[in-house]
């Protein structure tokens, strides 16, 4: 029998300090996430310097907890993996420096992983039958990408956002309608009480790349709508605004994804990233895929949010492909997907 490949993975690209132990790329033995959301909520969003400091304080406990929960010792670990971009540079540096030191001191191989590649790979955890090729939509607070997954580690970006990420738009709109931070889950919830077609917000398209996204115009449209009402001295319906805004986002995401599926003829479609836990988006995608006879995949919410299990999964496929990082591995805040 071949020996197990056990990867200890670390993720610290934004405001989640996370570590996980993953066996053979599909079996998550532990998945520890220490969220800093309570602190950043005080500032209405993630403060990079605070995030970096908190990572430094938490990283030892998070890593040791992941090892303990997996009932593993250092000897059982085959390789150490870490997110090295994209993300907040100071935050990334904590995970990268720590992972490098661990790997070096333990004489284990080091594998630097792309954060988005991690999000996409999160789909492999619970869908053991899922294999490339498939189409994937990655939507989170920092990213909105429509990606062709040709093979493990082989990606082609069809479309990306030209301004705000989808999750960013959720946060900003939630703030102006008084729902607070983080916007995604709050809008998702309050939308059940609103009318999604109460207000007709724009669904922008681009002539030169029909798969690109733009969410800042939509955010401005919400602001304009609120301002106009205010000038007339009228009140707005929070749930209607939330539901209508969300519907516009969902329509664009589903529309672009389905167009790409039709054009490229993929039989499998997956979503990933923090926004992928939005219940309205999940339902809409599922229905649209079912209509086309396309198989639909999505990770559980715990694997949609930033986590290290997804990094361990992505690292496994890099490990078996023979990819290794050197001791001079650096954090790359604007790392492109498919680049090394």
């Amino acid at each position: 029998m071949e020996q197990d490949v056990v990867i200890l993975a670390i993720e610290s690209s934004c405001d989640e300090t996370a570590a996980s132990v993953v066996r053979n790329g599909r079996e998550v033995l532990s998945n520890v996430i220490s969220s800093q959301i309570d602190i950043h909520t005080l500032y209405g969003g993630v403060v990079p310097e605070i995030a970096s400091r908190k990572h430094t304080e938490r990283i030892d406990q998070v890593v040791m907890e992941a090892l303990k929960e997996a009932k593993m010792t250092w000897d059982d670990i085959t390789a150490i993996a870490v997110t090295y971009g994209p993300g907040l540079v100071g935050a990334l540096l904590v995970g990268v420096s720590y992972a490098k030191a661990l790997a070096w001191a333990l004489h284990k191989p080091l594998i630097g992983v792309h954060h988005i590649e991690g999000h996409i790979s999160a789909n492999y955890i619970e869908n053991t039958e899922l294999e490339p090729p498939f189409m994937c939509l990655v939507v989170s607070g920092g990213h909105s990408h429509l990606v062709k997954v040709a093979d493990y580690g082989k990606y082609e970006i069809l479309g990306r956002t030209r301004d705000d990420a989808a999750g960013e738009a959720f946060d900003k709109v939630a703030r102006v309608i008084g729902l607070g931070y983080p916007g995604g889950p709050k809008i998702d919830k309050v939308s059940y009480e609103g009318n999604p077609s109460a207000i007709d917000f724009p669904r922008p398209k681009f002539a030169d790349n029909e798969y690109d996204f733009s969410f800042s115009g939509l955010k401005s449209a919400v602001l304009n709508y609120l301002n106009q009402l205010q000038m007339k001295g009228e009140d707005y319906n929070q749930a209607d605004v939330a539901a209508s805004f969300q519907q516009a986002v969902v329509d664009v995401l589903v529309g672009h994804s389905m167009k790409a599926l039709d054009q490229y003829g993929f039989k499998k479609f997956a979503i990933a990233g923090g926004v992928a836990s939005n219940s309205h988006l999940r339902t809409a995608m599922e229905e649209a895929c079912a209509k086309r006879g396309v198989e639909f995949f999505r990770p559980s919410p715990i694997f949609c949010t930033d986590n290290a299990a997804m990094i361990g999964v992505a690292a496994y496929y890099e490990y078996i492909a023979g990819l290794r990082s050197d001791w001079d591995l650096n954090a790359v805040p604007n790392l492109k997907l498919g680049e090394r």
């Binding site: 403060v47 605070i50 904590v94 050197d326």
Partner: protein, 240 residues
């Protein structure tokens, strides 16, 4: 006893392996590359050159801050990872203390100055006094983040000759020469920046005094809040 010492608090990246009263290896780099690219390769180079079994290391010393936030992060996370993997204690030495220790035995006051931007400096005031078997370093002013004029004022009040060192020298030299009324000099190249060998030597004292921590316990000393926290505090004060 062997100490591996790491300082990445400023422009310089410095790594040393010191065994009691012998510096076995020291590697200093003052170059624009980020510490993230230089630090671990330097540690690796030293260990390979010495054919060292890392289990022979008894403790890991680190310049615990203040300093560049990014530099401190890289240094702390690296030291934490090493200490955790090797199950060794961490010796956290204040950066400015370690810098002052470069001038061991001098009769003058020692004033390390690190550039902290906006006319601020990370600094402190130190002296050495004779003991039976050598010199002891005295901390006259604890390391702090202050305006350069404030530390010059303090030194004027002491009325003793001063030696300056640190990456703040090229930044503040003109102001010092203009405002300082006591005799003063600037330390020469081989001792005027962070040296991990000096850090390690000071760390031996910390170990004798039992001042060590675990990887998880150790956090760097920033001496300054983040900008967001500062602004928040100012807002709160304004509304009070």
């Amino acid at each position: 006893m062997k100490i591996l010492a790491i300082d990445s608090s400023g422009m310089v990246a410095s790594v040393a392996l010191v065994s009691d009263d012998i510096v076995i290896a020291e590697y200093n780099v003052n170059f624009k590359k980020t510490h993230s690219q230089t630090l671990l390769p330097m540690v690796d180079e030293i260990v390979r050159m010495l054919e060292l079994d890392t289990q022979e290391i008894d403790a890991i010393a680190v310049a615990a801050g203040p300093g560049s936030f990014t530099g401190l992060r890289i240094g702390s996370a690296t030291v934490k990872g090493l200490a955790q993997a090797l199950s060794k204690p961490v010796v956290a030495v204040p950066t400015v203390d370690a810098l002052a220790y470069n001038l061991y035995g001098t009769d003058c006051l020692v004033c390390p100055i690190m550039d902290a931007r906006r006319n601020q400096t990370y600094t402190g005031i130190y002296s050495f006094s004779r003991t039976e078997d050598g010199y002891k370093m005295n901390v006259l002013t604890n390391q702090c983040a202050v305006d350069i004029r404030e530390i010059i004022e303090l030194l004027n009040g002491k009325g003793k000759e001063v030696v300056f060192l640190g990456d703040g020298v090229p930044v503040f030299r003109e102001q010092i020469d203009e405002l300082l009324q006591v005799p003063h000099t600037y330390a020469p190249a081989f001792m005027n920046r962070q040296r991990a060998a000096a850090l390690a030597t000071l760390a031996f004292e910390y170990i004798r005094e039992g001042k060590t921590s675990t990887a998880a316990e150790f956090t760097p000393i920033y001496l300054r809040l983040s900008q967001a926290e500062r602004e928040q505090l100012e807002k709160e004060r304004a509304t009070e």
